[in-house]
C-alpha cells in the first residue's frame, strides 16, 4: 500500500496515462468476458426449451443438436466467420487486408493466423470481443434448432447451423451491425441490439430450411389441418425460456462498446452514444410488454405467453439504445401479439411445421423490430457518419437481409434433401430418433404410455394409428403425406 502511494507520487504523467489505459482495457476485457458467461445461459435455455417441447422419444437427439452447435460453430467461426466480419463490412474488402476504411486493418487482424487471434499481451480486447460474437453465432444456430426438431438429421442440422452461424449471420452483421458497415454508413441502418441481424435472419433462414424439410409425420390431416403434438415436459420448456431471458441480459450488454480511454462512454455497435441503463430499461419492460401481448393474443396459452415475452424484447431490441421505456412497453406488447398471430398463420395457413414457433418469434418479430425503428426512431443519427435513421434506410436493410437469410437456408437444405441427407428415414422418425441415434430411452425408470396427439377439433386421440396412417402414405422422398384424418380413436 505504502509502496503504491510512493510509486504514484514518483510516476510521470505518461506513466499514469499508460496505467489508466491498461486498467481501462482490462476493465473492458473483464466486462466482455462476463457477458459471455451470462450468454451461455441462452444455450442452456434453448436446450431445455427444445428438449421439453419434443416428444419423449426425441429428447436426447433434440438436446444433442444444441450441444453440438458449440462443437461446429466454434471452429468454423474461428477459421472463417470472424474473418468475414472483419473483411466484408464495405460489402467487399476493397483494400484487402487493410479494409475496412472505418477500422483500418481489421480485415487482416481477423484472419485466424494473425497476431490478434491468440494470446497477445498487447491486445486485451480481440479475444473477448470475438467470444461475444461467437456466442451470438451459437444463438442463431439455436434459433433454427428448435424449428426443425424431431425429423432433421443431426448431421444436416450441424452443416446448416455452421453455414448460418459462421457465414450468413456474420455477413449481415458485417453489412449492418458494425461501425464500418455499408448499411449504417450509407443508409443510417439502425439495429442496435440485433432484432434483425441475429433473430430476423436466423428465423428466415430456418423458414427456408423448413420448406424443404417438411412437416413431422402426422402433423397435418389430409385436409391440411394442423394437429398438435403434446410436448413431453412443458415445465422444462418454460424453465428453458426463463433461462434464455436471463442470458439475454448478457446478450444486450455485449452489444455495447466500452473502453473509457478510447471512447467517451458507452456506445452502441455503430459507435453512437447510449448507456447500459438505457438498454436495461428496454429489455426489462420489453419482457413485461411481450408477456402481456402474448397472453392476450393467445388467450392465456402458457407456451405463447412466454414466447410472446421473447418476441416482445426482440421487437424493441433494434431501438433499445434510444427508446423511452413507455414506448418500449407499448411496442413490445404489439411484438408479443404479432408473434402469436404470425405463428398461428405459419402453422395453420402456410402449413409449415415450425415445432417451437421460431420463425414467428425470431424471424417475424425480428424484422418487425427493424421496421419499428424506422417509424419510431427516425431522425436519430446512427454511426460514425451520423446518417439519420429512417424508414427507407430500415427497408433497405430488410431488403438486403431477407434474401441473404432465406436463399442459403433454402438452397443448402434443398441440396441435402436431394442427397437424402436432410431428413431421418420415416421409420426412425416414427419410432423416435433417440433409439436410432443413441440406442436407448432416456427416461428408463418411467413407464411408457401411449403417445397422444390432439386433432384439429381439439380431441385427444391415441397417436399410434394417426402416425402409422401418415407413415403408410409417406412418399418415396421421405416427405410425409398430409394424411391420416379421423383414424385416431377419441380418448375417454
Amino acid at each position: 500500500m505504502i509502496s503504491s502511494i510512493f510509486w504514484i507520487a514518483q510516476a510521470t504523467i505518461e506513466e499514469l496515462e499508460e496505467r489508466i489505459a491498461l486498467d481501462s482495457a482490462i476493465l473492458a476485457e473483464t466486462f466482455y468476458f462476463w457477458t459471455v458467461v451470462v450468454m451461455w445461459l441462452i444455450h442452456v435455455g434453448f436446450m431445455a426449451y427444445e428438449g421439453g417441447a419434443s416428444r419423449r422419444k426425441n429428447l436426447m437427439s433434440t438436446a444433442m443438436k444444441n450441444i453440438l452447435t458449440i462443437a461446429v460453430v466454434t471452429p468454423t467461426f474461428y477459421y472463417f466467420g470472424w474473418y468475414i466480419y472483419g473483411c466484408f463490412q464495405e460489402g467487399w474488402p476493397k483494400n484487402g487486408h487493410a479494409s475496412p476504411a472505418a477500422a483500418e486493418g481489421f480485415c487482416g487482424a481477423s484472419a485466424p493466423w494473425s497476431s490478434a487471434m491468440g494470446p497477445n499481451l498487447q491486445d486485451h480486447i480481440t479475444g473477448v470481443f470475438f467470444l461475444a460474437f461467437l456466442l451470438f453465432s451459437w444463438t442463431t444456430g439455436s434459433i433454427m434448432s428448435g424449428a426443425v426438431i424431431e425429423r432433421i438429421r443431426l448431421s444436416a442440422y450441424l452443416i446448416l447451423t455452421a453455414i448460418l452461424g459462421s457465414v450468413v449471420w456474420i455477413m449481415d452483421a458485417a453489412w449492418g451491425w458494425s461501425s464500418g458497415g455499408w448499411l449504417p454508413r450509407q443508409f443510417g441502418f439502425h439495429d442496435a441490439i440485433a432484432s434483425g441481424v441475429v433473430h430476423g435472419v436466423a428465423g428466415v433462414f430456418a423458414f427456408g430450411v423448413l420448406l424443404n424439410l417438411g412437416p413431422r409425420i402426422g402433423k397435418y390431416t389430409a385436409d391440411g389441418l394442423a394437429r398438435t403434438f403434446r410436448p413431453h415436459n412443458t415445465h422444462l420448456t418454460l424453465m428453458g425460456l426463463m433461462l434464455i431471458f436471463t442470458g439475454f441480459y448478457g446478450f444486450y450488454a455485449a452489444c455495447l462498446v466500452i473502453q473509457s480511454t478510447v471512447f467517451p462512454g458507452w456506445l452502441n455497435i455503430y459507435l453512437s452514444p447510449t448507456t447500459l441503463g438505457a438498454i436495461a430499461w428496454v429489455i426489462t419492460i420489453g419482457f413485461a410488454g411481450g408477456f402481456t401481448g402474448g397472453w392476450f393474443a393467445s388467450k392465456g396459452d402458457p407456451f405463447w405467453t412466454l414466447s410472446g415475452g421473447l418476441a416482445g424484447v426482440i421487437s424493441v431490441s433494434a431501438g433499445a439504445d434510444v427508446y423511452h421505456p413507455s414506448l418500449a412497453y407499448l411496442l413490445s406488447i404489439t411484438g408479443g401479439m404479432v408473434a402469436v398471430w404470425s405463428g398461428t398463420y405459419i402453422e395453420k395457413r402456410l402449413r409449415v411445421d415450425d415445432a417451437v414457433g421460431a420463425v414467428a418469434v425470431h424471424g417475424v418479430a425480428g424484422f418487425y423490430g427493424v421496421l419499428l425503428v424506422g417509424i419510431f426512431a427516425g431522425g436519430y443519427p446512427t454511426g460514425i457518419n451520423n446518417v439519420e435513421s429512417s424508414l427507407g434506410g430500415q427497408l433497405v436493410g430488410i431488403m438486403a437481409f431477407l434474401p441473404l437469410a432465406f436463399l442459403p437456408g433454402y438452397v443448402v437444405s434443398w441440396i441435402l434433401k436431394r442427397m437424402n441427407l436432410l431428413r431421418v428415414p420415416p421409420e426412425v422418425e416414427l419410432e423416435g430418433l433417440d433409439m436410432a441415434e443413441f440406442q436407448q430411452d432416456f427416461y428408463p425408470e418411467f413407464e411408457r404410455v401411449p403417445e397422444i396427439v390432439i386433432e384439429p377439433d381439439g380431441r385427444e386421440v391415441d397417436g399410434a394409428p394417426v402416425l402409422l396412417e401418415s407413415y403408410w402414405q409417406t412418399s418415396a422422398d421421405g416427405r410425409p403425406a398430409r394424411a391420416g384424418v379421423g383414424v385416431g380413436e377419441e380418448r375417454s
Partner: protein, 80 residues
C-alpha cells in the same frame, strides 16, 4: 511494482506468445491448416456415422414388420 518477472519489459517487447510461433509464422500456419482440416473431417464423420446408424435402424424396423400396413380384410363375401 511487481518485480519477480520483467513483465513491463516483456509486454513491450513481446505481443503474441502462443506455442509454435507468432502471427503469420510457419508454425501458426501449420496449426491453422491442421485445425481446419480436422474440422472438415469432423463434419464428414458426423454425416457418415449418423447415416450408418439411421440406415441400420430403419432396416431393422422394416424387417421387423412392426410398421407394415395390415392386410385389408375381404369385403366381397366370396368363400372358397
Amino acid at each position: 511494482m511487481f518485480d519477480a518477472f520483467p513483465y513491463d519489459e516483456w509486454s513491450e517487447d513481446v505481443a503474441e506468445f502462443w506455442t509454435f510461433g507468432g502471427g503469420g509464422s510457419t508454425g501458426t500456419w501449420i496449426m491453422t491448416i491442421l485445425g481446419f482440416a480436422v474440422m472438415l473431417v469432423a463434419f464428414w464423420g458426423f454425416v457418415i456415422l449418423e447415416n450408418r446408424k439411421l440406415t441400420h435402424q430403419a432396416s431393422r424396423l422394416k424387417a421387423s414388420g412392426a410398421l407394415d400396413r395390415p392386410p385389408e380384410s375381404s369385403t366381397t363375401g366370396h368363400e372358397a
